[in-house]
C-alpha cells in the first residue's frame, strides 16, 4: 500500500505521554514571565505616576491641541491640548483602580451569594440560581447603563460599583457548585456542631476550598472591568472628560479621526490592550495551574 514501516507500526495505544519525574516540575513551569514583567512595569508606572509625569495631565494647553509626538510632548497631545504621556500614567491609575475595585465588589457579592445558595435549602438554592440565570441573560451593558443613569454624573466609585454588581453571577455559580460538594463534609459538620456561624464556616472551611477554582475567574474579572470602564467612558456613559482615564482619553477619538491624529487613538488603546493581554495570560496560567492540581489529586 505504499506505507513505510514507520507508518505501519505507529503505536495506537493510549496517547504516549512521557512520564515526568516527580518533583522536577516546579511551580513556575509555564509561568508567563514576559506578561508578568510587562504588567508589573505598567502597574508600577501608573502607581508612581507623579514621578514620571512631565506635564499636568489635566491641564488644557489650548495652544498645543492635537500635536504629534515630539520631544516636548512625548506621546503628543489630545484634541483638548492635554499631554498624552502624562495622561497615560495618571489615567492608567484610575483605570486599574476601577478594575480592581469592581472586581473586589463583584467577588464579595459572589462569595456570599454563592455560599448562601450552596449551603441553603433546595428551594432557596433553586430560586437563587434561577435569578442568576435571568441576571446573566440581560446584557451587562444595559445594567451598567441603567445604574449609571440613576447616579447621574459618574465618578470612580459609582462606576466601580456599577461594573461590580454586574460581574458576580458567573463566579457565584462556580462557588455554589463547589460549596454543594463540600457542604456535608465531616469537617464542615463538626464546625457547625461546635456552634460555628455561617461566616466562620465560610472563612475557615469553605473559602480555602473554592479559592483555587475561582482565582482564574477573578483575574479575568479585572480584565473585564477595565475593558468595561474604557468602553463606557468611550461611549460617554462612564467617566466624564475631566477625569483622565484610558477610556475617557479614547472618547476624544471621534474628533481625532477628523484630524487624522492617530496618536490619540493608538497610544492609549495600545496600553489598554497590552495590559488586558498580560492579565489574560496570567489568568490562563492560573487556570492551567488549578487544573493541574486537580488532576493530580
Amino acid at each position: 500500500m505504499g506505507l513505510t514501516d514507520q507508518e505501519l507500526f505507529t503505536p495506537v495505544g493510549i496517547r504516549q505521554i512521557p512520564e515526568k519525574p516527580a518533583g522536577k516540575q516546579r511551580w513556575h513551569h509555564g509561568f508567563p514571565w514576559i506578561s508578568a514583567a510587562l504588567m508589573t512595569i505598567i502597574v508600577a508606572c501608573c502607581m508612581g505616576a507623579e514621578l514620571l509625569m512631565t506635564k499636568d495631565p489635566t491641564f488644557m494647553d489650548l495652544q498645543n491641541c492635537s500635536v504629534a509626538p515630539n520631544a516636548e510632548f512625548l506621546f503628543g497631545t489630545d484634541t483638548l491640548g492635554r499631554d498624552i504621556f502624562s495622561g497615560i500614567w495618571y489615567g492608567g491609575r484610575i483605570s486599574i483602580t476601577i478594575g480592581v475595585l469592581a472586581t473586589v465588589i463583584s467577588t464579595m457579592i459572589a462569595v456570599v451569594y454563592g455560599a448562601v445558595s450552596g449551603v441553603g435549602p433546595v428551594w432557596l438554592d433553586t430560586l437563587m440560581m434561577r435569578f442568576t440565570e435571568i441576571f446573566l441573560s440581560v446584557p451587562s451593558l444595559l445594567i451598567v447603563l441603567f445604574l449609571q443613569a440613576i447616579w447621574g454624573e459618574a465618578n470612580m466609585l459609582s462606576l466601580s460599583v456599577a461594573i461590580g454588581v454586574t460581574g458576580w453571577a458567573g463566579i457565584a455559580k462556580v462557588i455554589r457548585t463547589e460549596v454543594r460538594q463540600i457542604r456535608s463534609s465531616e469537617y464542615v459538620l463538626a464546625s457547625r456542631c461546635m456552634g460555628g456561624r455561617f461566616f466562620h464556616v465560610l472563612r475557615k472551611h469553605l473559602a480555602p476550598n473554592f479559592l483555587a477554582s475561582i482565582m482564574f475567574m477573578v483575574i479575568m474579572n479585572v480584565r473585564t472591568a477595565i475593558s468595561a470602564e474604557s468602553t463606557l467612558s468611550f461611549m460617554g456613559m462612564g467617566l466624564p472628560l475631566e477625569i483622565v482615564s484610558w477610556g475617557s482619553m479614547l472618547s476624544l477619538a471621534e474628533k481625532a479621526l477628523l484630524t487624522q491624529s492617530w496618536w490619540i487613538i493608538l497610544i492609549p488603546g495600545g496600553f489598554l490592550v497590552t495590559l488586558l493581554m498580560c492579565i489574560t495570560n496570567m489568568g490562563n496560567y492560573l487556570r492551567k495551574a488549578a487544573n493541574r492540581k486537580e488532576s493530580n489529586l
Binding site: 440581560v138 441603567f146 445604574l147 443613569a149 456613559m237 490592550v273 488586558l276
Partner: protein, 335 residues
C-alpha cells in the same frame, strides 16, 4: 401519560419564559423611572426651560408621569398587551414605527455576523485541532488571544482610522449614502467594516471552544477503534469527533446570542450605524422611556429565547447534558 408529560414539559418552559420576561419588564420599568433627568426635556426639548411650573405640571399630567410608578407600570402593561407601546418622546412617533425602521439594519448586521462567526469558528477550530500543538495551532492560539483582548470599540476605531481615514477605501459611518437606500452594493460597502469587527471580536472565543472540544474527543476510545480499523485521520476527525462535538456547539450558538448582540450594539454605536443598538444608547441618554422599555424588552426576549432554545436542543440531543453546564461555559463577558 406521554402526552401529559410533554404538556408539562412545554408548560414548564413557557412558564419560565413568561416569568423571566415579567421580571425583566418590572425591573426595567422601575429602574428607568427612578433615573434622574426630566423626561419632559426629551418630549418638549429646549422649550421645557421656558415653561412655567404650571405648564410643566399640566404636561406631566397629560403624559401620565405624575402617577405612582406601579400605576404607570400597570397602564403600560395594559397598553402593551393591546399592542400599543406608546410614542417615543424624542421622535414623536409610535415606538413600533421607530423600531421598525431600524430593526432591519440590526438584523442584517447581527445575522450575517452571527453566521460568519460560527462558520469561521468551526473552520478555525478544526484547523487548530488538526495541527494540535504545531505551528498553525500555536500561531492561531496566540493571535486569537490577542484579538479577544482588544475591546470592540477600539478595534472599530482602528479599522476606521486605517481603512476610512488613511486609505479611504471604505465609508466609516451609516448604513448607506444619501439617495442610495435601495442600492445593495452601496449598503454592502457600508457593512464591511462593522461586520469585520463583529466577526473578528467573537471568532476566537468560539473557535477555541470547538478546538478544545475536538481535542477532548480525540482522546476518546472510539478514536482508537477507528484508527485500528484503518480509518484516515480526516475521516475520524470530521466524521466522528466533529459529529460528537456539534450538539454542544449548536446549543452554545443559541446561548451566545447576548454575547454577539451586546457586541453588535457597541459596534453600531461607533460606526453610527442606524440600528437598534444606536437607538438604545440614544434613548438611554435622552430618557426616552417608552422607546427604552421596548428596546430592553426586545433584547431581553431574544436573549431569554436563545437560552431556552439552547437548553431544549441540549436536552433533545443529549439528555446527559444539563442546560446549566453549558451556560456555565458560556461566560457572559463584555466583548
Amino acid at each position: 401519560m406521554m402526552k401529559q408529560n410533554l404538556l408539562l414539559y412545554w408548560g414548564k418552559k413557557a412558564l419560565v419564559f413568561l416569568v423571566s420576561v415579567m421580571v425583566l419588564s418590572v425591573a426595567v420599568f422601575y429602574i428607568s423611572r427612578l433615573a434622574p433627568g426630566d423626561p419632559l426635556m426629551s418630549y418638549y426639548g429646549e422649550r421645557t426651560e421656558k415653561m412655567s411650573v404650571e405648564e410643566k405640571e399640566a404636561a406631566r399630567e397629560k403624559l401620565g408621569l405624575n402617577d405612582p410608578i406601579h400605576v404607570q407600570y400597570v397602564r403600560w402593561l395594559q397598553n402593551a398587551l393591546k399592542g400599543d407601546f406608546g410614542i417615543s418622546y424624542k421622535y414623536k412617533q409610535d415606538v413600533t414605527e421607530v423600531i421598525g425602521s431600524r430593526i432591519g439594519n440590526t438584523l442584517i448586521l447581527g445575522g450575517i455576523g452571527f453566521v460568519l462567526t460560527f462558520l469561521g469558528a468551526l473552520g478555525l477550530g478544526i484547523l487548530c485541532a488538526w495541527h494540535e500543538d504545531k505551528w498553525p495551532d500555536q500561531l492561531l492560539c496566540k493571535g486569537g488571544t490577542l484579538l479577544s483582548c482588544i475591546p470592540e470599540f477600539w478595534l472599530s476605531l482602528v479599522m476606521i482610522l486605517v481603512f476610512s481615514v488613511t486609505l479611504q477605501w471604505l465609508p466609516s459611518s451609516g448604513a448607506y449614502d444619501v439617495g442610495h437606500k435601495h442600492d445593495i452594493l452601496n449598503r454592502a460597502e457600508h457593512l464591511i467594516l462593522p461586520l469585520t469587527v463583529v466577526v473578528l471580536e467573537h471568532l476566537w472565543y468560539y473557535a477555541y471552544m470547538i478546538r478544545n472540544k475536538l481535542l477532548e474527543e480525540t482522546r476518546a476510545d472510539y478514536v482508537l477503534l477507528g484508527k485500528a480499523k484503518g480509518l484516515s485521520k480526516k475521516k475520524i476527525l470530521l466524521g466522528h469527533c466533529l459529529r460528537n462535538s456539534l450538539p454542544s456547539y449548536i446549543s452554545l450558538m443559541a446561548i451566545s446570542v447576548p454575547h454577539v448582540l451586546g457586541g453588535t450594539y457597541i459596534v453600531e454605536k461607533v460606526f453610527s450605524y442606524p440600528g437598534i443598538g444606536t437607538l438604545s444608547f440614544e434613548s438611554a441618554q435622552y430618557h426616552d422611556y417608552n422607546l427604552l422599555m421596548v428596546l430592553c424588552m426586545l433584547t431581553g426576549i431574544v436573549v431569554i429565547l436563545g437560552n431556552l432554545i439552547g437548553g431544549i436542543i441540549n436536552e433533545r440531543i443529549d439528555p446527559r447534558i444539563k442546560a446549566a453546564e453549558v451556560t456555565e461555559t458560556s461566560e457572559v463577558t463584555w466583548d
